[in-house]
Amino acid sequence: MARKQKSLSDVFTAGFFKQNPVFVQFLGMCPTLAVTGSVESAIGMGAGVIFVLVLSNLIISLIRSAVPREVRIPIYIVVIASFVTMLEMLMNAFVPDLAAQLGTFLSLIVVNCLILGRAEAFASKNGPVRSVLDGLGMGIGFTGGITLLAFFRELLGKGSITIWGDFALNLIPSDFQISILVAPAGAFLVFGILVSQINKIKLRRAEQGEVA
């Protein structure tokens, strides 16, 4: 019996919580840990990933029937790399500060397994509309995940949240800041704590489901 196809809204929202790329699928860990020192760079990275993910999903789903199975991965990589290159150029031209902030991690979107993963797992098997929605949903989930991580790291590590220099939220005096959290090691700590809390919630829900 063929599996029932998911509705469009399910496709779109799957990445938000149920299959969240950051906290559930553990995809795209490199930027997750590297650019979450500030909310600003996390949002920027998220926007970049959405751009590449949506467009690569779209193109790959459009050409999926013409792509020989043997060379599908190189072709997906070429498509993804092209979009990442374009993204890099566009960001350097129009949002240079953000591009500088993201640095080399912008280029590393090419090897972000979230993108290749969705290309292989979804776009290569679904139509363009569903693929675009999947890319968008996963991208938003990814952005939300890394932004949440960045929020805690920046808030606790720097005592404030600053977005594009205009919006600043100063909450914690310097004596009480935990500066290691904005250092690379802090990413692992905060990520581990967040994952444990999410798992705790999932476990509790599962237990409640069993009881019910």
Binding site: S82, T85, M86, M89, F94, Q101, V182
Partner: protein, 635 residues
């Protein structure tokens, strides 16, 4: 067929992707290049301030091979005559976690004219400090060789980025030396350049000969910056001693002559402790100065150096002197000498004679000035008093003048200077402050207005005034005739006397010490003018002579406070006479050597032992002082 399909499909995808990338690249590249050029152009003025937008030309040097130096561009700046003025390098290097791009300007003499980090993405709080301007200012004026040797401050906690940064500068220095070379500036040229930086490049700096003696104000050189017609600014080279008493600090400070605002300042040298007082060399500690008013500079309204309180205080004090010099030399204000200010206390005075060196030491007395009218009659005395201030935060001083006329009345009080908490002690400066004590006898209670919030300062001042009054009454020669008479009594063979107390240590019981001279002005002995505590705590004032061989001369009692008339009730048998002042007991201290008085105890007179005991203590102390101080080499 399948292999063909694979090849074709790969080819098509690559081609379409390439076209897409090419299309986006053609749109973005001009934008990126324009922006980078604009950034460099904007940075150029701060990187190379000497650039003249109208006559200078800026060209990129395309003839050199940068190799693996990390240099991406060199702009060569030439003046209107095609002489090279300097270079601006664009450098890249790999920091801890990002590519870092910076610009650095170097003039023809190899001095760095400016530095700016254009791009970095290092760890916040660590390598990212390279983007903080406070880490850039250290380069201005530094030789590229110094920077190439890595002799500049790195980034705290960011060892990897700092090492890479220093390595990048080393590469830059080697490249610069090999490619362009440079003739280092002489010390004079470097100094001139620093002065020029303070006043701007449009003005010409000339040496200035002031009317005042700048050395009196700690100023070692005065220069003016002229536009060809008028002097627009003045630059002082100032020297002061900070924490390290064996060395000094020197700095430049420039004032605008139109507004009298500070144009800027910079330290030239410091012998103070590295990391503390020597931080005066850090231009960040001079950041408060540009635009500061003369008053604020004098009041020390700037941050100073954290952790270097003594040097900061000395620095602020030196600015008070600079301000004083500036006011007199360039603003035409009356010099604030003690003599000129003393006129406020003695309006009818004709001259003030500094007699400090003739007077005995007083702990707070900085100076003593006798005041005379135009006929030569003495009007009184002005005391210049300096005492420790009341600030809890740092060592401060309070300095004031107080006048006492010949009738022993105060003539006024004038606050000369204090370094108390700014804003707190201002009321003490008011012209009418101290008027309330004018005409009050020094022996009477006086009233000075208390200043709200400055109780401790007020108490310090009144305590100092009390000290002056005590000094005036006991240590200062109020009645020359009385003193002269007493001196003659104590040393009958002498023709004249001269106070030599300032040559020896101060002793609380000795009011003064005089050299007794004969007709040929040769010193034949000494006279001690001292006090002892007698019966009922009354003070016995006396003069005691001693010749050059240490033989005591006459012991003369100057006041009549000890009555022996009724001492019989206490068992006094009258053996030495009934009047202390003429008693034969005093003769025991005449015609004998000081040494014998120390060796053999003189007897007390029973029944009047309080008086004789008090006298003995004082006389023995003088004999001991005479020996210890080797007065006149007579010990």
């Amino acid at each position: 067929m399948k292999p063909v399909k694979i090849v074709v499909m790969l080819l098509v995808v690559v081609l379409v992707s390439s076209v897409g990338v090419y299309f986006v690249e053609s749109i973005t590249t001009p934008i990126i290049e324009d922006r980078r050029a604009q950034e460099i152009e904007e940075a150029l003025q701060s990187i190379f301030p000497a650039i003249d937008g109208t006559t200078d030309t800026v060209t990129s040097d395309t003839d050199v091979d940068f190799g693996t130096t990390g240099i991406t561009d060199v702009l060569v700046i030439r003046d209107g005559d095609d002489n090279v003025k300097g270079y601006v390098y664009t450098m890249t290097f790999r920091g801890f976690s990002s590519e870092i791009i910076y610009l650095v300007g170097i003039d023809a003499a190899g001095a760095i004219t400016g530095y700016q980090t254009l791009q970095q993405n290092d760890t916040a709080g660590y390598g990212a400090q390279i983007a903080d301007e406070e880490n850039w200012t250290q380069f201005t004026g530094m030789s590229i060789e110094t920077a190439g040797n890595g002799d500049f401050d790195g980034l705290a906690g960011a060892t990897v980025t700092t090492n890479a940064w220093k390595s990048s500068f080393e590469t830059l220095f080697n490249f610069h030396l090999d490619t362009y070379g440079y003739t280092p500036m002489t010390d004079e040229q470097l100094l001139l350049q620093k002065k020029q930086t303070l006043v701007g490049n449009d003005l010409t700096i000339e040496s200035y000969t002031p009317d005042l003696a700048p050395g009196d104000y700690g100023i070692t050189a005065v220069d003016v910056a002229t536009d060809g017609t008028d002097n627009q600014a003045v630059i002082y080279t100032v020297e002061f001693v900070g924490y390290n008493a064996t060395g000094s600090n020197t700095y430049l400070i420039a004032f605008d002559l139109a507004t009298n605002e500070v144009l800027g300042g910079t330290a030239l040298s410091s012998d103070d402790t590295e990391g503390f007082g020597a931080l005066i060399l850090d231009n960040a500690n001079w950041a408060d100065f540009p635009g500061m008013s003369l008053e604020d500079a004098e009041d020390g309204n700037f941050d100073g150096i954290a952790g270097a309180t003594v040097t900061t205080l000395a620095w602020k004090q030196s600015l008070v002197d600079v301000g004083m010099f500036h006011r007199v030399e360039f603003l035409g204000e009356t010099p604030r000498t003690v003599e000129s200010l003393s006129e406020l206390l003695f309006p009818g005075a004709d001259r003030f004679t500094n007699v400090t060196s003739e007077k005995p030491f007083g702990t707070m007395i900085e100076g003593v000035y006798d005041v005379f009218d135009d006929l030569g009659a003495k009007l009184g005395t002005v005391y210049h008093v300096q005492t420790i201030g009341a600030s809890y935060a740092e060592l401060t001083t309070i300095e004031f003048l107080i006048g006492i006329d010949t009738a022993d009345n105060f003539t006024g009080f004038y606050m000369l200077d204090d370094s108390e908490t700014p804003g707190r002690a201002d009321a003490f400066y008011a012209d009418d402050y101290g008027d309330t004590i004018e005409g009050v006898a020094i022996t009477d209670d006086y009233e000075l207005d208390a200043v709200g919030g400055s109780t401790i300062t007020y108490n310090v001042i009144t305590a100092a005034i009390d000290e002056v009054v005590h000094y005036h009454q006991t240590k200062y020669i109020l009645l020359p005739e009385r003193i002269m008479d007493a001196l003659a009594e104590a040393y009958p063979g002498a023709v004249s006397f001269e106070s030599v107390y300032s040559d020896y240590d101060f002793d609380a019981t000795i009011n003064n010490l005089y050299a007794a001279k004969d007709g040929s002005d040769a010193v034949i002995g000494y006279v001690y003018y001292a006090t002892a505590t007698g019966y009922s705590g009354n003070i016995i004032e006396f003069m005691w002579g001693v010749d050059n061989s240490g033989v005591a001369q006459q012991l003369y009692i100057m006041n009549d406070t000890q009555s022996w008339d009724d001492a019989t009730y206490a068992g006094y048998d009258g053996a030495f006479g009934t009047d202390f002042n003429t008693s034969t007991w005093l003769d025991l201290f005449e015609g004998v050597t000081f040494q014998s008085i120390l060796d053999t105890e003189v007897i007390d007179a029973a029944g009047v032992s309080t008086t004789t005991g008090g006298m003995k203590v004082s006389l023995e102390r003088i004999a001991q002082y005479h020996a210890d101080q080797n007065v006149g080499g007579a010990s």
